[in-house]
Amino acid sequence: VIRLALPKGRNLAAALAAFRTAGIALDGLDGTGRSLRTRLPEAGIEVLSLKDWDLPLYVTQGIADCGIVGSDVLEEVDGDLLVPLRLHAGRSRLSFIGRNDREPALPAPGTQVRLATKYPNTARRVVDREPWGAEIVKLSGSIELAPVLRLAELALDIVQTGRTLAENHLVEIATVAEVAACLVVNRASYQRHRAFINDWIGRLEAAEVAS
């Protein structure tokens, strides 16, 4: 039995749609993500419903053989997983965000700012390449509020449509990376279930829902 870990939240719909289009039957799965563990004996799989941030750990430890997780999370908590595919649906951007009451620009070279983010490791790597410096403030949510309420000059966060930004008088200053939901596979599982996983990869590619 293959254990597939699916994320709660943003990427779940994208994952389910991709599997459906590719003809990978997950019949009997409750699409709300409320059921934590669902056995699908006909498909020969068991689906675990996990939080994005926990999912890479479950796959690295081999509790799940494979899973779907956002590249934003993967970059932050890398566990040396295989990442064969990136889904097309639900793509977003990881961007620097600031208040819209001034020219949208990154800090001037040599300046030091505060940067609020859920992704401190990624932020550190990105800021290392910039000519300005930042004190990184790790937050767990509502990152957009940090520049609005002046906890930080900048935020590094996911931007999907930009609507939340506009509503909060914020602006996207620069894109750091494109974010996609990725198929991740445990290295040991790949050796053991190569045919099964390659079949999934082939179907997802052929249906043009991932590449």
Binding site: T60, G62, G79, P84, L85, A188
Partner: protein, 331 residues
């Protein structure tokens, strides 16, 4: 007075049953190593940092616990037995009778980010075979590794431990990775090692390189060995023959050849600087998984170039087993 029993991150104390279990397993492995003609080397836990400087990569440097001794010398805690043994033997190599068969056991300490299953101190048992060139040494080392790794007993009534051994050789994909003509071939090697199909497809647009690399991602080997170039093709055929022989001898082990798994083990200096774990392998390279976890329980290979970097010409091959990970998988 209340004393806390808390230990620093990444280390553990084994008490009672867990201590007995590890010592039992260790004793069994050591008995087999001695029976195979390997003699023990007891090595220090502390050494000067300086001899290792030219051997370090960004990744292995980040793992080191180093500090200034009271007399001002820079020291490092033992993070890997193989370079330690190599640097002790290299200056004396002319005086030693070859082949030389040595084994070691003890803790290594490596800094790791705090995560489940990532200990900073772990116990290794390993062996090194020096002075024997070519496939004879590789066969001996692999056989001994398989014998040891399959000797760990499971609790009564459980299925035998599912051991998976992945084989490859350093530099197998160098030709393809360089021929793709990327500005940053190291990044392509990383993408192959992570099996990022999109990245590999974009890179391999020229000729059949993309197709060949994608086949390696899927099946571990190209459709035709000659797609790797003549030298690597010959090596692959020989490795396939060796794998077939070992499959027969160890039917319970899932043995596969997967060149993508070792895409970061390169021989060409243009591909140096990636995140491959032990950068000194230059021939056969392998690692083993047990149970479900994706952290190898052991691995090894040929590392002639480690001795060459230390000024000695001697063929060398070896392996190590992380005893706690293996026992955890067997529990």
């Amino acid at each position: 007075v209340r004393v806390s029993a808390a230990l620093p991150t990444g280390v553990a104390a084994l008490l009672f049953e867990s201590a007995r279990r590890r010592r039992d397993a260790e004793a069994r492995l050591v008995a087999r190593l001695e029976a195979a003609g390997y003699a023990e080397a007891i090595l220090p836990i502390l050494d000067y940092l300086e001899p290792y400087e030219p051997l370090l990569t960004a990744a292995t440097r980040g793992e080191l616990y180093r500090f200034v001794d009271r007399d001002g010398e820079l020291l490092a805690l033992r993070a890997d037995f193989t370079p330690l043994l190599a640097r002790l033997l290299a200056p004396r190599i002319q005086a030693l009778e070859m082949p030389l068969r040595l084994f070691y056991r003890g803790d290594v300490v490596r800094y790791q980010e705090e995560r489940a299953g990532r200990a900073r101190e772990f116990y290794q048992v390993g062996a090194e075979l020096l002075g024997l060139a070519g496939e004879r040494a590789e066969r001996e080392v692999l056989r001994l590794f398989l014998e040891l790794a399959t000797s760990v007993e499971r609790t009564a009534g459980q299925d035998p431990l599912a051991l998976q051994v992945v084989l490859g050789f350093a530099g197998a994909l160098d030709g393809l990775l360089l021929a793709a003509g990327m500005d940053d071939p190291v990044r392509l090697a990383e993408a192959v090692a992570r099996r990022e199909r999109g990245e590999v497809r974009r890179a391999g647009g020229i000729g059949g390189i993309g197709e060949t690399l994608l086949a390696v991602l899927e099946n571990g080997v190209p459709e035709r060995p000659e797609d790797l170039g003549p030298d690597a093709a010959t090596r692959l055929l020989r490795l396939q023959a060796l794998a077939a022989e070992l499959r027969e001898a160890f039917p319970g082990v899932l043995l596969s050849i997967d060149l993508a798994e070792f895409a970061r083990s390169s021989l060409d200096p243009r591909l140096a600087g990636g995140t491959g774990d032990r950068p000194y392998y230059d021939g056969l390279v392998f690692h083993a998984y047990a149970g479900r976890a994706a952290l190898p329980v052991g691995g090894g290979g040929r590392y002639d170039r480690l001795f060459r970097a230390l000024g000695a010409e001697v063929p060398a091959a070896g392996f190590s087993i992380s005893l706690e990970r293996l026992l955890e998988a067997a529990a």
